[in-house]
Amino acid sequence: MPDEDRPKHVDQHAKPHEKSVAAEETAAVAAVDTAGGAISPSAVPATAQSGKLPGGPDTLLRKIFTGSGVVSVLAVLLALILGGLLIAATDERVATTSGYLFARPTDFLSAVWNAATRSYIALFQGSVFNPRGSGLAVQFAPLMETLTIATPLITAGLGVALAFRAGLFNIGAQGQIIMAGILAAWVGFALHLPLGLHLLLVLVAGIVGGALWGGLVGLLKARTGAHEVILTIMFNYIALYFLRYLLNTPAFQRPGESNPISPILDPTAVYPQIFGSQYRLHLGFILAIAATVLVWWLLNRSTVGFEFRAVGANPKAALTAGINVSRSTILVMAIAGALAGMSGVAQVAGTEKVLTDGVAATYGFDAITVALLGRSTPWGTFAAGLLFGAFRAGAVQMQIQTGTPIDIVLVVQSLIVLFIAAPPLVRAIFGLNPRRKKPAAAGKSQQAATTGGAA
């Protein structure tokens, strides 16, 4: 059989340039490099290569979502600095010292410094560790609160990130959370099942709800070519008004009441609290960690993730390689929906234990920012989720302690997005531009040459 002869044949032609020094050098270089194991990717963007970069739509959006993690860190830093200045600007002491700014500038500066640091210290104490607490349990309560708030941000953020890696801009996490919340809550308060089974069913119902709501978007896109951004926006509205409608029907109200609030979920239907009843932190956080691991594996180690990434990076090449792009689109949206669905479950079965029309708060939208900050990588998203959880948790404490309005945190969040969207700005501010600084002499002669040559 010719096919079985192949390997032998391949060997015959395996070394066409045996004697070439060049080939040996390649081998040597390769050996050195791979032996080290650390292959540092090029510092220069491949796009700079005479425009011949293969690969898909190298859109601005894509660059923003998958850019360097360093920019993320710097963007956070920069946003915090600007936020600090803003805090200072509204501070009373800063205002009074600015009155005699020129007489004693140090007063003014120290006032600025104090205002900003006081607020940030309060933010830290409200989100991680409060030294004034009595006993470790109370001191770490803020951290537990941070993790609780981070839970839905992480899972929904993973959904946005995963879809983005497949080239889809999923802004429908909000609607997916709501749909999941509705189903999970209903199973939780309407059915009465044994311990264990009940919670499992709540979880499954939520995940299926989110997956369907997301998958439907994928299906519509794959079948009709409708754009996912428009679809997901509309689906968010549909989900929200559907929820409001349901909360006005007796089936979703407490017996004898007409408030838009559901009955409390059965005790068998709620997530157990991880560190006992003193903290709100619940099983959902563990599941969020598991989800992060799973998404990482899916993206980097599975054939499904390979397809997602291929479709996201270059759909034409994916198609030519036999990848079913439609199926990938539907599947990735369903999985993204399922992940957002976990956030819905975390809300109704973990944090709130009832269903209201605020079940999703703004988690679905914040998830986009979280995925953005996390550069659409699973662990990046996880870290970004924690950070945003900390902002949320600490903001309250900050307002109580220093009077700094909670809104400042939203400003900082928005600034982060702004800076991430403009990496050159961040790099310029931190002097990180890839262009090397030239000796002054060269600069001068360049000027001479260009003005002389291009008249």
Binding site: R6, H9, V10, Q12, H13, A14, P16, H17, S20, A22, A23, E25, T26, V29, A30, D33, T34, I39, S40, P41, S42, A43, V44, A46, A48, Q49, S50, G51, K52, L53, P54, G55, G56, R301, S302, T303, V304, F306, R309, A310, N314, A317, A318, T320, A321, G322, I323, N324, P434, R435, R436, K438, A442, G443, Q446, A449, T450, G453, A454, A455
Partner: protein
């Protein structure tokens, strides 16, 4: 080297003063991580000179040009314009200094007109911020007339053929007063006729004092237009050559060993016909029949080469076989299994190896690693995956052996495929498709952008595949390649099969067939010349004894070239 000495400064042309520019690259070094892409390169481009850079795939030619154009910052070294050191912070600076570049993939906005594209980025505005297109249009006309570009400023770019789009790119550079034009493999995407026209344009630009840095792997073109040739190997300048040097001498200097420019291929031993296409019609979304009632078959152990001017249905034909076309009528049988109506995955899994025409769009994912690209259509099969779980170790292992075997120049299979040089990207696609058990091998432009040494290797591999008993279909716009590889030659014209002729059919007959004239008529017009001219001596003619052949006749050179040592074969079929 021998070149006309033109003092830097100004020369008077018949009608106008043209500023000229002398360009010098001194000790240019460029590193990418551990890889030394350019190693202390010195090149001087004299005014009004066509300076050719010759070198293997991955030698560092494009990198050097990107440095010159301000896209890359050199790790070391300096650029001198008219003997003054300059530093470019980006292409804008390079353009301001009089350097223009035409990228291999054009940077044009398809839905804009020629004038709008040319104006883009250098908009001259009238009072009130309105775009002054009138001015641009006038300049385009002026340049177009002077060089015989034949470009309509008001045409939409998307309606223009590739060759004309390329001229728009050149106009863009000229409007910005480029005195040095960088052309990085401009002919890779052109038809032979467009290529000849481009070479003419280059000569005209030169006579107007514009210098050109020209990169090409086609030695015939290099010999035809260049004044000076600098050969680069592994990032270093290894010497200069003279356009009068023989093709084989140039080839061996570039690769560093003797290269066999003609393929030694045994006559085909065709077995049973396992690939049959019958009455195939492909209908484009606009209702046009891009492939129109084609029937042919290929036997195991036979190479059918499809010739024809690009855009005559070749792309659609191959896409229909792979299952990428929507509206396909007729029948495609492989081993008696109908392929029409099956998914791409099914077709690939039934043993079809497919090399798409445009590697960067359809063949590779630039942000994926080389290793991942080498399993792009087999990632879900053993040994690379068990169930849905992939084995990165196996993927990398495969990459190592493919990279060795096909001599892909890269420090590691883990690097993004987008960092590979153009020719090496092509080798990756070929390596992927040629290293699995095949029942049919289809390759479009199998050696586009590949250096002569690697062409030799890839051609051998294709013939080896044939000798294993695989039916092979090669689509190429290079007539040389078609004649070299084919056992039979099919010619397409406007979606129809003009005819299938034996290998060894003369160029003139093929040329007429490519214009739609059936072979009987073509053959009666011109006696079939199976001119199997004596193989040109391609011995170890590696010495670079420079023949000061100053009155080198470019036209004669164009006619000569690889074609004279025309292929063997034609006995069978």
């Amino acid at each position: 080297m021998l070149q006309p000495h033109i003092p830097s400064g100004t020369v008077t042309d018949a009608s106008r003063l043209v500023r000229v520019l002398k360009l010098e690259l001194r000790g240019i070094t460029k590193r990418f991580g551990s890889l030394l892409a350019n190693d202390h390169i010195d090149v001087v481009v004299e005014p009004g000179q066509i300076h050719c850079l010759l070198g293997e795939n991955g030698a560092g030619k494009s990198t050097l040009m990107n440095v010159l154009y301000g896209l890359y910052e050199p790790t070391e070294g300096e650029i001198l314009v008219n003997d003054k050191p300059v530093s470019f912070r980006g292409p804008g600076d390079a353009m301001a200094a009089g350097i223009g570049m035409v990228h291999q993939h054009f940077m044009l906005v398809p839905v804009f007109t020629v004038a709008e594209n040319v104006a883009l980025g250098a908009e001259s505005t009238k009072a009130g911020g309105f775009l002054n297109l009138e001015d641009t249009r006038r300049k385009i006309k002026e340049i177009s007339d002077r060089y015989g570009f034949d470009v309509d400023p008001d045409a939409l770019v998307e309606d223009l053929p590739v060759g004309v789009q390329q001229r728009v790119e050149i106009i863009k550079a000229l409007v910005r007063d480029a005195k040095v034009l960088i052309l990085d493999e401009p002919t890779a995407v052109l038809t032979p006729q467009e290529t000849d026209e481009l070479l003419d344009i280059m000569r005209q630009l030169k006579s107007n004092g514009t210098s050109i840095v020209f990169i090409s792997h086609k030695l015939r073109e290099v010999k035809a237009v260049s004044d000076t040739i600098t050969v680069i190997r592994r990032g270093k300048v290894v010497g200069s050559a003279n356009p009068g040097d023989s093709t084989t001498a140039l080839a061996s200097m570039m690769v560093g060993r003797a290269v066999n420019l003609t393929l030694d291929k045994a006559p085909a031993k065709p077995l049973e016909k396992t690939f049959k296409v019958k009455d195939l019609t492909v209908i484009a979304p606009n209702g046009h029949h891009t492939v129109d009632g084609i029937s042919f078959d290929i036997a195991r152990g036979e190479i059918l080469a499809v010739a024809g001017v690009q855009g005559n249905g070749q792309t659609e034909l191959t896409e229909a076989i792979l299952g990428l076309q929507e509206r396909v009528h007729g029948s495609i049988l492989l081993d008696d299994v109908e392929l029409v109506g099956r998914s791409v995955k099914d077709v690939l899994n039934s043993g079809v190896g497919f090399v798409p025409e445009d590697r960067s769009v359809d063949g590779l994912i630039g942000t994926f690693s080389i290793a991942e690209n080498l399993v792009l259509d087999r990632y879900d099969q053993p040994p690379f995956a068990k169930g849905i779980s992939m084995s990165p170790a196996k993927v990398l292992e495969n990459a190592k052996s493919r990279i060795d075997e096909f001599d892909v120049r890269t420090p590691s299979g883990l690097l993004a495929a987008g960092t590979l040089s153009g020719g090496n990207q092509q080798k990756v696609v070929m390596a992927r498709e040629l290293s699995r058990p095949l029942r049919l091998f289809i390759a479009s432009q199998p050696t586009r952008g590949v250096d002569v040494g690697s062409i030799e290797f890839l051609h051998k591999r294709i013939v080896a595949e044939r000798d294993q008993g695989t039916p092979v279909m090669i689509i190429s716009t290079e007539l040389d390649e078609v004649m070299e590889l084919a056992d039979r030659i099919a010619v397409l014209y406007k979606g129809k099969l003009v005819g299938i002729v034996p290998a060894g059919t003369g160029r003139d007959v093929l040329g007429l067939m490519m214009a739609g004239i059936p072979q009987e008529d073509a053959a009666s017009d011109h006696a079939v010349k199976t001119d199997r001219a004596a193989k040109t001596e391609h011995a170890a003619n590696t010495d670079q004894a420079v023949q000061p052949d100053q009155t080198f006749k470019t036209d004669a050179a164009a006619a000569e070239g690889r074609a004279t040592s025309s292929p063997e074969g034609g006995e069978h079929a």
